[in-house]
Symmetry: C2
Subunit: 313 residues, 2 copies
């Protein structure tokens, strides 16, 4: 069953890809089996991460990037990590709307993933979904996330190039830059660059960058102005991505190792917790929680007691 | 040493509080000892979480809330969780600027915490810092975070009441609402309410809320308009907080248990990972990472091998 799903994913079958990503999203053991089966065939796609605050126009920008990539003859997969509220259920609707501009083009696969509120698992699930698209033979995989929090940083770190999208006129440009995002950006995009304040935002990013000492061979993140709604600036962005890709070949080994390490840590951490829950048993855990809630026991001492139980098995 | 620090924290000494929070921020074992020592004296402060996107005017709003709280005769501690880039080092400067409006008032303690890019530990460190302020006898502890990501959600969940601050005119109100934030808000604030689009944003939040079926006894999050720069609407916000606090007394046991459980899980997860690293040893970990990076071994199988080593100890 799963091996045939893996074969179909490897052959590029869109339904099989969708099914595989659903398994991953649902945390189904079949998802893990699939990754094991296709993993050796991955590592060929180039992963492009796009992040930035809500309202920065990321979806429109990604649509334009998809168009440019297709014109250049490459196939694309898009994973939009979309923390959907139970009130909206926006992911499916959003996919339908977004697919319309590429309707009938088998070279484009777009899929939203809900984060379902679970902590930690999001980055792993996104990375696995990217592996599926990679295994399916997509040349370019775009990972788009909403937000500027630590979780988005972790997601974007799984990409080969990280694009941070900013937008003028949100009142406090500096805060947007402070939010842990300067370190992860390989390329900055100032979108909606036809708005007031675009040049000021570009200068503000540039002056932040100038505080950083770049060596002769170091990549200095360019700041690209785009108007995604018209497509202005998008070819310049694609050029910057291509230059970064060329530049990064020298460090590819290091990047792959650091990515492999963080994936391994995530998986191990999730499994350790699952094992803890099994070996402690729900009753014992509830009793400890009760004592912490009543302030009879501090959480650190309670944690010591839990760990003793796990390792006494 | 630590017991005297604990005594000084319990007596409300501002320097001791600052020192204690630094220990926690630096992940110093003394921080854990301190929490163990003061934990039984905590649980009396009311924790107010304030979150929202960059540029929503949260700092100004929190300053106004501090002013109102002081006027009502209560003492306040503020923890501003501030994901500072290494380029800016904004936290210390920000504290100085913010303390100026409450200079000489011993009833106000303001402290920024950098997140230092570590995953997961931020929510725990923030919760511990809040415990220190609680133990020190502060009546109200405000936890302010920048951002709308999963990490901020986790931080705000440690509070007794969660306030989500929105701002009109960021172009895409709906995205801001989708970002996992609807579920955590006990109170919505539309700040900068003198701007165009404020009423539209209020309606948009209200219409989202109306999709949710609130029962007769359920708390329905109110939407409060404020202009933090002038103070308009801040008394109404304080009233809403007081009403929520009154309303929440019935569920206090459940809230305390769920908070105790998530704290316990965080601490245990961090410790399990630390133990794994010690028992596997850096050489073995590096060798496995190398094989995953070379696609000779998938990360799930590598993780199985690591876990076997830990539990074979």
């Amino acid at each position: 069953m799963t091996s045939s799903l893996a074969d179909r994913v490897l052959s590029g079958d869109a339904r099989a890809i969708a099914r595989a990503i659903s398994l991953i999203e649902d945390d189904d053991p079949g998802g893990v089996d699939l990754i094991r089966a296709v993993f050796a065939q991955t590592g060929r796609a180039f992963l492009v991460g796009v992040t930035g605050p809500p309202g920065a126009g990321k979806s429109t920008l990604v649509d334009r990037m998809v168009g440019e990539t297709r014109r250049a003859g490459s196939t694309v997969g898009v994973i939009a990590v979309d923390p959907t509220s139970p009130f909206t259920g926006g992911a499916v609707l959003g996919d339908r709307l977004r697919m319309q501009s590429h309707a009938g083009d088998e070279g484009v696969f777009i899929r939203s993933m809900a984060t379902r509120g679970q902590l930690g698992g999001v980055a792993r699930a996104t990375a696995d979904a990217a592996l599926v698209l990679d295994a399916s033979g997509r040349d370019i995989v775009v990972i788009e996330t909403v937000g500027v929090g630590q979780d988005e940083v972790e997601i974007v770190r799984t990409a080969d190039v990280s694009i941070v999208t900013l937008v003028p006129g949100t009142g406090d440009d500096v805060q947007a830059l402070k939010a842990g995002i300067m370190e992860i950006a390989d390329i900055f995009v100032v979108n909606k660059a036809d708005r007031d304040g675009a040049d000021r935002l570009v200068s503000s990013v540039e002056s932040n960058l100038s505080l950083h000492a770049y060596g002769a061979g170091d990549w200095r993140p360019p700041v690209i102005k785009t108007v995604a709604t018209t497509g202005d600036g998008v070819p310049a962005l694609m050029d910057a991505i291509a230059r970064f890709r060329e530049d990064a070949r020298a460090n590819e080994g290091t990047r792959r190792r650091s990515r492999a390490e963080s994936r391994l840590r995530e998986i191990v951490s999730e499994r350790l917790m699952a094992r803890l829950e099994r070996s402690v048993g729900p009753g014992n855990l509830a009793a400890l929680v009760e004592r912490v809630a009543a302030r009879q026991l501090d959480p650190y001492t309670a944690s010591d007691q839990l760990l003793k139980k796990v390792f006494a098995d």
